[in-house]
């Protein structure tokens, strides 16, 4: 195993030089203050956080090779995802060895034994729709909607309103179908559209201060934009006296969007220098290559580093994308008799290849963690000050089972989560949806309500996860 990477003095100094919201440490952190994983020793937990905590929900589709397997649900195979033991000395599973081999063992925790309840939620939807919708909302899909706001949206309502972008959803792939197309929802009917194109993301997020043509001084431009948005808000409010109540939702949706944009324009613009990507790999592997994903990840990490946002989602393709993992010759191009091409077909027919797909996805997730870990923030790394929720829509791809969900939590949430160990839960009370209460707690949002009371009767954090 590679040794875990430490934050160097130079890294920290560079971090201070680059700037970023919340950087308040003027002195480099001594190695003695670190715990051997690049994370600060617990004493910082008691003190004032040196950087606000970020939350990223990171989605990967089509399940894993689990206990259930394709051919025989009862063949006794324990599957490739979950570790067999727990605690700090746990033995990594076959799949998780990918992250261990990347030197990331100490940056995450696998959480096993969680049951995702899809009963009561939406019996009338495609299993993948329900899986996507429940991924971060705690509610199932309703028609074309998600069922409810997602965890990133809810948390950002408490903690993300002072940043430029309340939530920044980014996606590799272009799944065409709701609700699978979206990972972030502001309410049950309203997705927050993801940025899928690196250049569109760059232009919208990092080049917002220039007009498309004819630059104005930024303070003049921003004042003018605010005035125009005020005007639009007034138009919308006046319309409540003219249109009927069936349009109220639309008016309010538009009004809230305008208000959010006004909020964005009112935040201080952090100094945030990043070049426009020159190579975006749009045509490589149908636009679904890890290279293109990494370009998107780098932009997202930069936005987090600069404090442009603290909340984000990342969708590593969706079921409908039919992703082909052709860069891995052991997987190759795949077509199935009735389940479509690529990843989804594999998930129904070939567990041996499915587990290779999972490992490719973990490599990409590992790359994301590396980027976060190598980005200084406050007195440590961006990863230290973040919580990354990584999960799939199903446990097993082919059977759509959700009895023991593949979930990782990464980052240390500013000292709230001790990584480098495995957690195992069991029994009917080990519910996937309860994890969202842990997430809220680690963000300092104890007591904030979340999810659907009708669908989930256990509405409290899982025990023993924090600290």
């Amino acid at each position: 195993m590679m040794p875990s990477k430490r934050l160097s003095r130079r890294t920290l100094l560079r971090g201070i030089g680059i700037g970023g919201v919340g950087v308040s440490v003027g002195l480099p952190v001594l190695d003695a203050m670190l715990d051997g994983r690049g994370a600060l020793l617990p004493k910082s937990r008691a003190g004032t956080p040196t950087h606000p905590t970020s939350l990223v929900t990171f989605f990967f589709p089509c399940g894993t090779k689990s206990f259930y397997g394709n051919a025989s649900p009862s063949d006794g195979s324990p599957g490739d995802w979950h570790p067999r033991d727990d605690g700090p000395a746990y033995t990594p599973s076959r799949n998780l060895r990918v992250l261990h081999d990347m030197g990331l063992r100490d940056q995450f925790v696998p959480v096993s034994g969680l049951l995702k309840e899809e009963r009561n939620i939406s019996e009338d939807r495609d299993a993948h729709d329900v899986g996507h919708a429940t991924f971060a909302s705690g509610r199932g899909s309703l028609y074309t909607g998600s069922g409810g706001p997602t965890i990133d949206w809810v948390a950002s309502g408490h903690l993300g309103l002072d940043t430029r972008y309340r939530v920044l959803p980014v996606a590799l792939g272009d799944e065409g179908t709701r609700p699978r197309r979206y990972m972030t929802w502001s309410d049950r009917d309203t997705p927050v559209e993801s940025y899928r194109d690196p250049l569109a993301l760059y232009d919208a997020i990092f080049a917002m201060e220039t007009m498309p043509s004819g630059p104005l001084p930024s303070e003049v431009l921003l004042a003018r934009r605010r005035s125009v948005l005020d005007f639009v808000s007034e138009d919308l409010q006046q319309l409540t006296r003219r249109v009927g109540s069936n349009d109220l939702r639309r008016l309010d949706q538009h009004f809230e969007s305008v208000r959010q944009l006004e909020r964005e324009l009112s935040t201080e613009i952090p100094m945030c220098a990043i070049d426009r990507p020159t190579e975006t790999f749009d045509d490589l592997y149908g636009g679904l290559s890890p290279q293109r994903g990494e370009v998107l990840m780098k932009l997202l990490v930069k936005a987090l580093e600069c404090g442009l946002t603290r909340f984000a989602s990342f969708q590593l393709c969706a079921r409908g994308d039919g992703r082909q993992f052709v860069w891995n010759s052991a997987i190759g191009s795949y077509d199935s008799p009735d389940q479509g091409p690529g990843h989804h077909g594999i998930s129904h027919y070939d567990d041996a290849k499915l587990t290779l797909c999972v490992e490719e996805q973990l490599r990409e997730f590992g790359r994301f963690l590396e980027l976060m870990r190598d980005t200084p923030a406050g007195d440590a790394s961006l990863l230290y000050h973040s919580l990354v929720f990584f999960a799939n829509e199903h446990e097993h791809g082919g059977s759509h089972q959700c009895g023991n969900m593949p979930v990782l939590l990464a980052g240390q949430a500013g000292g709230q989560l001790t990584t480098g160990r495995a957690y195992r839960y069991s029994g009917p009370s080990a519910r996937y949806a309860r994890l969202f209460f842990n997430v809220l707690g680690m963000l300092g949002l104890d007591g904030v309500d979340f999810g659907d009371p009708a669908a989930y009767d256990l509405r409290e954090p899982l025990p023993g996860l924090e600290g």
């Binding site: 019996e123 559209e193 125009v228 005007f231 919308l236 409540t240 949706q253 389940q339 989804h344």
Partner: protein, 582 residues
């Protein structure tokens, strides 16, 4: 999940199915365990939750009931065409500024439930408006033409500009108060010159809901025995322009509105006939048929490389039957005419590969390509997941697109039948079709789908299956949605002929047009209007242009029902939606 009671969904049937037409076999090959003897329980629609808006007070089922008023956002395509018509903006503004694509709901991109507004969209609208305003006013000659006076010289010219262009942008004259607010905005935003003031006003108008939404309000119709509101000429002009042209009203239509020519059904018919002569009517017809025939969905699902020519073929064939005054629209189900490129000529076995990129040919009967159902776009799309799942998918396609039928919604958590490559397709499905609970669904869908078996998944004709079995194309379709009896047929050509004669197919065309025009699934309250229009459509020889004239001059289109007012004192941004019942 409640199931709509039969009385809530009496005649107008639609269904929820995976919007990609059940791309997984989990969806297509499994039935709910509890369907018992109710194989087609109405469970809502493609575009709205069960039931839709209720029948308003003062009306009975079967009446021609005005559709409720709504605010509908412009689609990306409508936005682009509108800016092009207003200011000659070249190319697609929505693509230039990377707008998020519009969601397809029930095949259409203009559905109310899909046309949401997000912060990203507001951000994109802002950037686009700034660019369009700046570029539109950059040229002095252009400014003069738009304002009718010199913005740089006369301070009063800004107001003239706002009034002249505002009435084109908002598609109605601006109230004095609106003009005053725009001028105040320009002044407050620090515009130092007349040009700068006009530019800010233009930016604001292009971000206003009065531009970005089509807003129906209407005036109370005192003379009507049943409560309703009459749309004014400008509101109707906007409805007509986006319905028939997919873009903003032109100056002639706004002049007709101003002159009161749209106040009567007769006047509307005259304007609609003029509009149908315009080349823009092709855009509107395509926007409808693209949704009805799932062409947008096919193009998105299959990607440009695979879908482009096969979708373009269907568009060209349908154009021949949807334009002009002499063609039976349902002739698309029986026509031998095809538009082919090199790929399609090869797939269809057409004798003379075209020298031009596109050639119109009449395919001889022995090729078995009469009617659009036998063409590559539908065959390939439904077979995208392989030939096993293609069977129920083809049944779903026919029932949804042409019969507006209920199909059971997707079940979850059921055992997956795994196709066995050593079995023929029919042998694989036989037990599923004959044994409850699956038979409730597949006993109806699959007999339609089997009729397509003489086409391979790539769209080529074949007589022999994968395992050497002879393929007869024998299929069956229910005689009506309410009866279990089925009509046998051999092959898709015969299926097309059967369907082209059915009244419920005529009604389904009209229902889809209703969905396109009003942005939501047809509901029981629309039954009277749809049946009225169907009868007229049938009696008039099923001419699409005549259907448009009839539909858009009907009371159901020219009036709106009395809305439930928004409570006085409602303040946007303070409403808690979390407790709203699903």
């Amino acid at each position: 999940m409640t199931v709509a009671s039969p009385e809530r969904m009496p005649r107008i049937r639609s269904f929820v199915f995976c919007s990609a037409l059940g791309v997984s076999i989990a969806a297509a090959a499994s039935c709910r365990g509890s369907i018992g003897d109710a194989p087609f329980s109405p469970r809502g629609s493609r575009t709205s939750p069960p039931g839709g808006p209720a029948i308003p007070a003062g009306y009975s089922p079967g009446d021609v009931i005005p559709v409720e008023a709504s605010m509908r956002r412009l689609t990306n395509a409508e936005y682009d065409r509108t800016l092009s018509d207003l200011f000659g903006v070249a190319g697609s503004t929505s693509e230039r500024f990377a707008f998020a694509p519009d969601d397809l709901v029930g095949g259409f991109e203009n559905s109310l439930s899909g046309l949401i507004v997000t912060t990203r969209r507001v951000r994109d609208w802002q950037r686009a408006a700034e660019a369009v305003a700046q570029e539109t006013l950059a040229n002095a000659d252009r400014r003069l033409a738009l304002a009718g006076c010199d913005l740089a010289a006369a301070p009063s010219c800004v107001e003239a500009f706002v009034r002249a262009q505002g009435s084109r942008i908002y598609r109605r004259p601006l109230a004095d108060e609106e003009v005053a607010r725009l001028l105040a905005l320009a002044s407050a935003a620090g515009a130092a010159t007349g040009v700068a003031a006009a530019q800010i006003a233009l930016e604001a108008m292009l971000q206003s809901p009065h531009f970005l939404f089509r807003i129906d309000v209407g005036q109370v119709d005192e003379g009507s025995p049943s409560p309703r509101r009459k749309l004014d000429g400008y509101e109707l002009a906007t409805r007509l322009a986006y319905a028939l042209w997919g873009t903003t009203p032109d100056d002639a239509l706004l002049a007709a509105a101003r002159a009161g020519e749209l106040d009567s059904a007769e006047g509307v018919r005259a304007s609609v006939r003029r509009m149908l002569e315009d080349e823009r009517a092709r855009v509107g017809a395509r926007a409808f048929t693209d949704g009805w025939l799932r062409l947008l969905e096919i193009a998105r699902d299959m990607g440009p490389a695979e879908a482009s020519s096969s979708v373009e073929e269907i568009r060209r064939v349908v154009d021949e039957h949807s334009r002009g005054s002499a063609r039976d629209l349902l002739g698309i189900l029986t026509t031998p005419a095809a538009w082919i490129d090199a790929d399609l000529a090869d797939v269809y076995g057409a004798s003379a590969p075209p020298s031009e990129p596109w050639a119109r040919v009449e395919l001889p009967p022995e090729l078995e390509r009469d009617g659009i159902l036998s063409r590559a776009a539908f065959l390939r799309w439904t077979a995208h997941g392989g030939e096993f799942v293609a069977v129920p998918r083809r049944g779903v396609l026919v029932r949804e697109m042409l019969l507006c039928a209920d199909v059971l919604t997707l079940p979850s958590g059921l055992d997956l039948p795994t196709p066995d490559p050593t079995q023929t397709v029919r042998a694989f499905w036989e037990p599923v079709e004959s044994e409850a609970p699956c038979s409730g669904c597949h006993g109806v869908l699959n007999p339609i789908g089997h009729g397509f078996e003489r086409y391979a998944p790539d769209g080529r004709r074949r007589d022999v299956g994968r395992l050497g079995e002879m393929l007869t194309g024998e299929g069956a379709i229910a005689l009506s949605l309410d009866a279990p009896e089925q009509d046998g047929f051999h092959g898709v050509v015969e299926l097309g002929r059967l369907l082209a004669q059915r009244a419920d197919v005529e009604r389904c065309v009209v229902e889809h047009l209703h969905v396109y025009l009003h942005g939501r699934a047809a509901a029981p309250r629309d039954g009277g209007e749809i049946e009225r229009a169907r009868a007229a459509f049938h009696d008039g020889g099923r001419i699409f242009d005549e259907l448009l004239v009839d539909f858009t001059s009907s009371d159901a289109f020219r009036y709106v029902s009395e809305p439930v007012p928004i409570p006085e004192g409602t303040v946007l941004g303070t409403i808690d939606w979390s407790e709203e019942a699903p």
